[in-house]
């Protein structure tokens, strides 16, 4: 078990290079349990790259990443996979596999290639499918699903790992508004009720502003880090998006939202 609020994942001065270009510059951050963090920024800001570095899928050119106080790459591959689940931005087709087959893959870090799923694994898979509302069509082929449905399956696959750290790359891109809201509620619940360290890259700013903490990135650097209630975070958002959005509080719950600033004709 992890300590309440303990830092599960840390990056120390991390830089990363893609195709000979440095796309992350000396990023340092600590990501604790019980918290949902949203990473935002314009296209090419290095958000997905940061997530891949944190997941151990891309090597650091400089600096290092620590998972539960141990260098990420020193963990055995399977042990790391049990503690850190990652959901890709664009899953591949997985055509002939059924939804259930794909979600079952989430148990692979625990079972290994040769293990046989037990009743407990089946229960976890069922719960993950219920959480993302894909249990009703668990026998359908992946290539018959819409983008949003596929995204919910891939999220269920990540949830089925039952890892204390959950890294999600743009989990809401193809979702309709009701499912976007359901996802936000789910991420909040996972962080606050189940104590997970949830980190998600999001393009929808209004959804991202509901997170406990917002990391604002631009040109491979962290420009601001904190809850949206802090003025410097809101200012950084306005700056990195070149004034194209205004952050406001609206509604009876005083929610933060990002309003596009349309130039007058």
């Amino acid at each position: 078990m992890t300590r309440h609020g303990a830092s599960l994942l840390q990056a120390h001065g991390v830089s990363a290079v893609l195709g000979g270009t440095e796309v992350l510059h000396e990023v340092s951050l600590a990501l604790p349990s019980d918290q949902w963090t949203a990473i935002i920024g314009p296209n090419g800001a290095g958000k997905s790259t940061l997530l891949r570095v944190l997941a151990g899928l891309l090597p650091c050119a400089a600096g290092d990443v620590q998972l539960m106080d141990q260098p990420l790459l020193r963990w055995r591959t399977r042990e790391r996979a049990q503690r850190l689940a990652w959901m890709s931005q664009q899953g591949e087709s997985a055509g002939e596999l059924s939804v259930r087959d794909v979600v079952h893959l989430g148990r692979l870090p625990h079972l290994g290639l040769l293990g046989t799923p037990a009743a407990e694994d089946e229960a976890i898979v069922q719960q993950a499918m219920r959480q993302t509302e894909c249990a009703a069509w668990s026998e359908r082929r992946m290539d018959t699903l819409s983008g949003g449905e596929r995204q919910r399956v891939l999220l269920a696959r990540a949830l089925a790992v039952r890892a204390p750290v959950l890294l999600l790359d743009e989990p809401t891109t193809h979702l309709d508004p009701p499912h976007q809201v359901a996802l936000v509620r789910l991420l909040q619940r996972l962080a606050h009720d189940e104590g997970l360290c949830v980190v998600s890259v999001l393009h929808d700013l209004s959804l991202a502003l509901q997170a406990d903490r917002v990391i604002v990135m631009a040109a491979g650097r962290v420009r601001a880090d904190g809850p949206c209630s802090e003025a410097h975070v809101r200012q950084a958002i306005s700056d990195v998006f070149q004034g194209a959005v205004r952050i406001e509080r609206i509604g009876p719950q005083d929610q933060w939202v990002a309003v596009p600033q349309l130039p007058r004709e």
């Binding site: 891949r52 997941a55 899928l57 591959t77 399977r78 042990e79 790391r80 996979a81 049990q82 850190l84 689940a85 990652w86 890709s88 899953g91 591949e92 087709s93 997985a94 055509g95 002939e96 596999l97 059924s98 087959d101 794909v102 893959l105 989430g106 692979l108 870090p109 290994g112 290639l113 040769l114 026998e139 082929r141 891939l154 696959r157 790992v161």
Partner: protein, 332 residues
């Protein structure tokens, strides 16, 4: 879904039995069901038709399995067993042995050596197939980096070794006929010894393929997702390449380059059922067996007492079905 899988397995089992029976009763004289009870023909059935039928089934089994492994590993429905240089390697080795055999001419005949040449061809084809794959691995610097790199290396090795085989054939045109037989694929030389080698190949490849099939399921989600699930990607890739090379090498060594079975078998399975790779691999192997059994029976009977090259028939059968499948999908 489970019932669709059961139906497919039952169909494959019945087709295998029916075609195996056909294989025992069809010969150069045409169809003769009396052959099974006729004491005079029992020898022919036991020594020639039975091993040929069993050998054709086992060869198809290995090709179907390696086709499914290739398509799973490369996540490409056009992938086939010969992609990693095994066919070109085997082809070159066979041509070299044929050219050397003819160059050694007289000495070879004195040694009595049709059997020796045949043994040499089988061994050379096997070594050549594995050599072609090893060269591909060498060029791709192992299976460490990317699957695309492996695929490109296989294509390059295929072209280079193919060109070398052409050069040898130009220098020793007598090898051309033998090379053609090898390139078209034939079940005509399969005896009990071949069956032993093919069965060993099947025993060495089918169980590990079954055990490690979930790796291909994980790979279907993409390499990053597979790695994030704790899959040791380089080792998994290497294991799959070894299984692919072993299955293809064994089949090619015994029956030459039988076309299309490896490519079409997984498609036939996927057109009938959706299933994880554990099922797809095994069902593709069984489908490959059925396809080559059918090809063998037709090869013997269509223009009896002459024979057609079985590879031509499998290409016609498998290709036609694939075209129909594509047409049907396009029409939907």
């Amino acid at each position: 879904m489970a019932s669709a899988r059961r139906r497919l397995l039952l169909t494959l089992a019945l087709a295998t039995l029916a075609l195996a029976l056909c294989g025992l009763v069809v010969g150069s004289e045409g169809w003769s069901f009396g052959a099974l009870t006729d004491p005079a023909l029992r020898q022919v059935v036991w020594d020639i038709r039975a091993p040929r039928t069993a050998g054709a089934w086992l060869t198809g089994l290995l090709l179907g399995l390696s086709g499914a492994i290739a398509q799973g590993l490369f996540r490409n429905p056009l992938a086939e067993p010969y992609l990693l240089g095994s066919s070109a390697g085997a082809g070159l080795a066979v041509v070299i042995v044929l050219a050397a055999g003819h160059a050694g001419g007289q000495a070879f005949q004195l040694l009595g050596a049709d059997a020796l040449l045949r043994l040499g061809l089988v061994g050379a084809a096997f070594v050549g197939a594995l050599g072609g794959v090893s060269l591909t691995l060498l060029l791709a610097r192992g299976a460490q980096r990317s699957t695309t790199g492996l695929l490109l290396a296989g294509v390059v090795v295929g072209f280079v070794l193919g060109a070398m085989a052409d050069l040898v054939t130009m220098a020793a045109p007598e090898a051309l006929r033998g090379k053609q037989v090898f390139m078209l694929g034939t079940t005509g030389f399969l005896g009990w010894t071949s069956c032993g080698a093919l069965a060993l190949g099947a025993l060495l490849t089918l169980p590990p393929a079954w055990r490690f099939a979930r790796a291909l399921d994980a790979l279907a989600l993409g390499e990053d997702s597979a790695r994030s699930l704790g899959l040791p990607l380089p080792q998994v890739r290497m294991l799959m390449v070894v299984l692919l090379a072993l299955a293809t090498g064994t089949a090619v060594a015994q029956a030459g380059l039988v076309a299309f079975v490896g490519l079409v078998s997984p498609h036939l399975v996927r057109s009938r059922v959706q299933a994880p790779h554990r099922f797809t691999l095994m069902a593709s192997a069984a489908t490959g067996g059925v396809l080559l059994l059918a090809g063998d029976v037709l090869a013997r009977s269509v223009i009896a007492p002459e024979e057609l090259p079985v590879g031509v028939l499998t290409a016609v059968l498998g290709g036609s079905y694939l075209m129909w499948l594509l047409h049907r999908r396009g029409a939907r």
